[in-house]
Amino acid sequence: MTQKIIIIGAGMATGRALEQLIETDPDAYDVTLFNAEPRGNYNRIMLSPVLSGDKTYAEIVTHSAEWYEENGVTCRFGERVASVDRARKVVVAENGDELPYDKLMFGTGSNPFIIPMPGHDLDGVIAYRDLEDTELMMSMDDSNKVVVIGGGLLGLEAAAGMAARGVDVTVVHIMGHLMERQLDEAAGYLLRKALVDKGITVRCQANSKQILGENGKVRALQLDDGTELPCDLLVMAVGIRPNVKLAQDIGLAVGKGIHVDDQMLTSDPDILAVGECVEHDGAIFGLVAPLYDQAKVAAKTLLDEPATFVQKEISTKLKVTGCDLFSAGDFAEGEDREDIVFRDPARGVYRRLVLQDNKIIGAVMYGDTADSNWFFGMIKDGTDIAEMRETLIFGPAYQGGTPMDPLAAVAALPDDAEICGCNGISKGQIVAAINAGADTLDAVKATSKAGSSCGSCVGLVTQVLGITLGDDFKMPEKETVCKCTDLSHDDVRKLIVAKSLKSIPQVMQELDWNSPGGCHVCRPALNYYLVCAWPGEEVDDGKSRFINERVHANIQKDGTYSVVPRMLGGITTPDELRAIADAADKFNVPTVKVTGGQRIDLLGIKKEDLPAIWYDLGEAGMISGQAYAKGLRTVKTCVGSDHCRFGTQDSTGLGIKIESEMWGAWSPHKFKLAVSGCPRNCAESTCKDLGIICVDSGYQILVGGAAGLDLLEAELLVTVATEQEAIDVSCAFYQLYREGAQYLHRPYKWIAKVGLDWVKEQVVEDLENRAALAERFRYSQKFYQVDPWAERARKGVDSHEFTPLADFTKVAAE
């Protein structure tokens, strides 16, 4: 006997269910199909190719008018189901028609989420869900600007589709990198690069504040930093919500979606639901694969055949030409999980597998997704990969083959890339020397000069030897930055400059890092290398700095902080002292101490109080003393010729001049100076990173002293006649150290490596080079001589660091 079924929504899920039903038993049901959209079933996921012009709408229609007719489906397209009377088992259409049913199936899909920010209801603010949205986007051309909010799958497909039509598109994404649910930072960086190449502007970590309009139509998007992005159309692709309104109104059990059991039955046994509108076992769905499984189960349930819906692993691919991206499974990191990461920077390829118990549980691939099905199959089947672990990441073709060469980064360098900065030797010249018979490091040094000066490029030269000679050359063991890379500090520094790398994710991707986000050892080192290499560019990432540098105060063992204002040359005034005393009183500072570096330290300050105490000190003209920095600390001075009967020069004045020029600079490690007015050396210049001793004929400059775990006497670099020369040599020496030393090496360690003679060549003998170094230092100072305290106390920089997100202590106390 034929029963009546009414289907609400002609979507991807119900379309499939309908096919299954009719294929299995065409006479079982008399079908009526309602759809709010004025058309029948089409392949929604192919809207993106329609948008980009690769397909037409006609090509993505899945069921034609003839098909519905042949199969006796009554179509009510463009009509919404207004309500359902479950007691009487009738459906009420928008026009008031009442239609009786035996079975009812919900397939209402989902609604795009529209952020309720001011202006969201303006004309020209749309989502990306149906043909109408797509057609609006297709009406844009190269005279238009469009902003897309949301850097996920949908947003990027919308952006790429419009960019293909010549539209000026900007993607605004709230997270730190694109598609953060599928990709890690490094793969997100590759994707961004590919999109930028397509002419799309990408703004990550951008928080939208409001949509601005004119005559009721969208004009621009305003970000919370005030930036306005003008646009003629604004597309929001920030997520979806199951469309449950109708189900809720008629009293079905609804959570995030319409609750269904394993047979796709809702809380009413005559009503089924499939697709994005359902919630099964706590999960909701946003991709078609599981919906098709649901559709099959629903069709069987309607025909009284046993069937059970089981959730499976799902995978996603981004449908943007030229951006091959695949992701599947679970790729959160965890205690018992391991990552295998493979990067081939030259080809822009990234692969990451997440393993647990010798099985692949997640996979991300970018650039080359040819093997994605092979990996996805292993995820679904839970294949044991212990046997092939070594070569797994290279894909099926490599099983049993040899692993990739870890020297890929160096191999990929072009011939004209400079390897030895001191002598200006390129990779091509080194290869030529090797091919001419230089088959050892010493021979290369002797014949090409590469690596024969400061020595910091020896690692790279060795790698070039390894690549050129292949198996004939045995690589010496070397110290790497950390377990995340095979490269040494020197290698990384050179490659950052040679390849013009400007962010941590970029370094990790291009230099083949083998962990997804680095570790606490490499992140701060990379951050410093970037800060040093690219002054004036926004490369500094506070999140990669140690806490002291991040909050500009020294953390103490009880979690409080200490505050040391700068006092140039150790000179202060009664006004400054009064301000310090007032601040100490006001903030109940438990300890006030005079430091070894001639400064005053206020200890025991609560983190929340830091901006306020900085504000007060700032009012009295004081700035951060940077007692926390891997950077310029203090210049100690003695009283010198101003007051002392032995004084030969104005040591205090010189100390103040040097400190005024150098404060704010970052370096591989802390850098301390002193200036003494005569060889009695009251400022202890002989154990400083750089110490100056004034003599009758001028200034002795000593470098590489230490008075910590190691005790070392500073050695004479040069004696100069004038104050200006003393300042220039100091700046040049500091810059040479900043550019060359490995992170966390004090100058004495670096000098031990490169040799004092080489340092003398660079800053004493070669006057041109001295001037160039000093010039580079002064250029960099233009950007780094900013008082970090004022920025935080007055401009609200990083305010999140100093205030709790929420405070429930007071609530509890009531």
Partner: protein, 112 residues
């Protein structure tokens, strides 16, 4: 069912940043990782580590700023040779808001 309390917007914490929720029983650090995941863990591991909210994040881990212990944010377990576990709390994200389980604030075992 666990009850939740709204502690702020997802954008109140910068990417790879952390902020504190103060409770009568001590501070809870809320982390936002590079991959956009949020976690709630105790800021201190009594006598062993903390304040973790001040550490450097990498992946879904954080390194203690004082002693360089590395903790898995999802499980709270110390990694490598170090042994210990910081308490983790249930947290969820809904409509751009961060919701922390009431149990975390009352500091009962989240067992309902």
């Amino acid at each position: 069912m666990t009850d939740f309390i709204d502690i702020g917007s997802i954008t109140d914490i910068p990417v790879q940043g952390a902020r504190l929720v103060r409770t009568a029983q001590g501070d809870i650090a809320i982390f936002r990782t590079a991959s956009g995941n949020y976690y709630a863990v105790d800021d201190y591991l009594e006598d062993k580590a903390g304040p973790l909210s001040n550490g450097i994040q990498h992946g879904e881990m954080v390194t203690d700023p004082m002693r360089n212990w590395v903790f898995d944010l999802a499980t709270g377990e110390a990694q490598g040779a170090d042994e210990g576990r910081v308490t983790t709390y249930v947290l969820k994200i809904e409509d751009g808001r961060i919701l922390l389980s009431n149990a975390a604030i009352a500091n009962q075992v989240a067992a309902e």
